[in-house]
Amino acid sequence: MGYGRGLIVGHWVTLRRFLRTFLVGHGRTMKRRGGGYQPLDFWFGKKVRGDEPTIQQDATTEGLFTVEYPDERLPVYERFRVLPMLVYDDVDGNVRCTSCNICAKVCPPQCIWMTHAQGPDGKPVPLPADFYIDMDVCMNCGLCAEYCPFDAIKMDHNFELSNYERHQTHIFSLQDLLVSSEFYAKTHPDAYDSADEVTERNKVAKKKDQRLQKALGLGAKPASTVRPVAKVAAAPPA
């Protein structure tokens, strides 16, 4: 039981924090700046959207902690996951998805639905004609990506999804969900290069190619001449 010792120590602690924001970390300089950090802040000096500097912070950061979000951003790590995306192979333009409906079945809030594509003869083709995800309902759990047997659906990193209108724009269709495998390789380099995915990719590519050709009744046509499926999806068969 001291006479006001706690008072004095407490005031010292807060004063120390106050001073340290000027003495250590990025508060010491004017180098890191969001908007309004410089004495004069001009709009044309700003970085383009998406090009903003990324700030590395961890438990050892001292002084100012603020990351001025739209002008600076925290790094996005590979296993960070927001909405799913559908991957197509940019070698041949094939959508990997076979419309097997597994993801739609495992999705806990049931926000995926799709229709099978049909070949010229009216038979179903292992491709999605339409593929929808209600992004208001999706809870970013990633189960769809875990269950997909063809590595076709993967989790995206883009979390800036706000919109002025919700009924039209928040139902993501095939067009909104498709990304190239190159994009996927860029955002998820570790996963893309892992042994698992490499072998899986090779296996699936071979199998799927055969099935596709069989379904389209094209016999032994080489894979490279198959019409890019992305375009098929853009104008689905009536």
Binding site: F18, G63, E68
Partner: protein, 418 residues
Amino acid sequence: MNVACDWAFPLVWAQQSELDSIPWLKWIIVLAVVFFGIFPGIVAYTVWGERKVAARFQDRIGPNRVGPLGLLQPIADAIKLITKEDLVPRSADRWVHLIAPVLILVSAFLVLPVIPFGVGLAAVNPPSGLIYLIAVSSLSALGIFLAGWSSRNKYSLLGAMRAVAQLVSYEVPQVLSIVPIILWAGSLSMVTIFDKQVLYGWFLFSPPGMLAFVTLTIANIAEVNRTPFDLPEAESEIIAGYHTEYSGMRFGLFFLAEYLSVFAVSCLGTAIFLGGGTLPWPLTGEPVVTLGGGETLFAMLLLNLPLIGIFMAKVSLYIFLMFWIRATLPRLRVDQLMAFAWKFMVPLCIINIFISAVWYECVIRPSKPNYLLGWGVTLPLVVVSIIGVLALYRSSMKAEPVELTTGSRRRSVVRSVS
């Protein structure tokens, strides 16, 4: 030179012997500039400073989006407050609801004219300046109570009740810690107090002076309802207390008044303990001694600019002290608040008056001041009295609350059973 010093208060009409030929016009211009320009500006940038400082205390940056370093933020806030809808609750007492914030603001403004910002820069110099100051600053309690009462809202009323209890309690130690100054200066006039400090150095530099300064600061913080004494507007308990039902510019007036009174009490503390605009001990009364004496406009400017600069620096430090305390201490409970005022502050202040009388006998009254004797006698007295009052206060605090809570809880249990 008169333009600079005549700014604030119609009482001057009665006192001034040489009125200009167009005094009305001059007064209107001066009032417009000072009341609608300088003081709101000071308030606006105190708010900005508080937000910046509080942010740094929490490892944040603070406002930095509107203008360079967020400097235009207060202007944006003012525009927002002015253009917002002014709501009055249907069951509120319209006129009282309207008058209450104005009353608080007037109280904060009326403190300022007697503050000697520099030589000849106190707008009015009534011989009983300190009494006047205490009187007008206690007007705000009335305004706060009217605000809470007229809103017809239980939270407002609770806040107002707390505010009145707190303001009335802390006015006592506030006045009692000013008494040593009156004793030493032999006058109630703020200007005389300033002149005495130019001659003898700051009143802070004595053991009873330091103790009185500390108690005055605590009482000041309580008077302007700032953390840890912000019970009247404790947002986690009673929404916003007495100004819960205010919106738009009426709320803005409360805001203005709060920060203006922060500025005013800081000016008070600076003027009576920190020697106004003078420098500390080795350079006692410095800018006045070397630069003073001139009668021309230029000489007055040369003297008063550094004086005002030093005064404002001291006021800023005092305000920073308040921000610092706010960033550190949590809110007191009501019973702690009352006990602290009546069981600790008041006895300590009363004892301190006697100690300052000893200091007066040792240092100020003799023609040749005996500082060594003064420090030697009063310092142990101050230390002993602080420890003694603190020990008494602690022992009294230990016994009571325990009994209170268990007793009342048992009673409520019994009532619910029966």
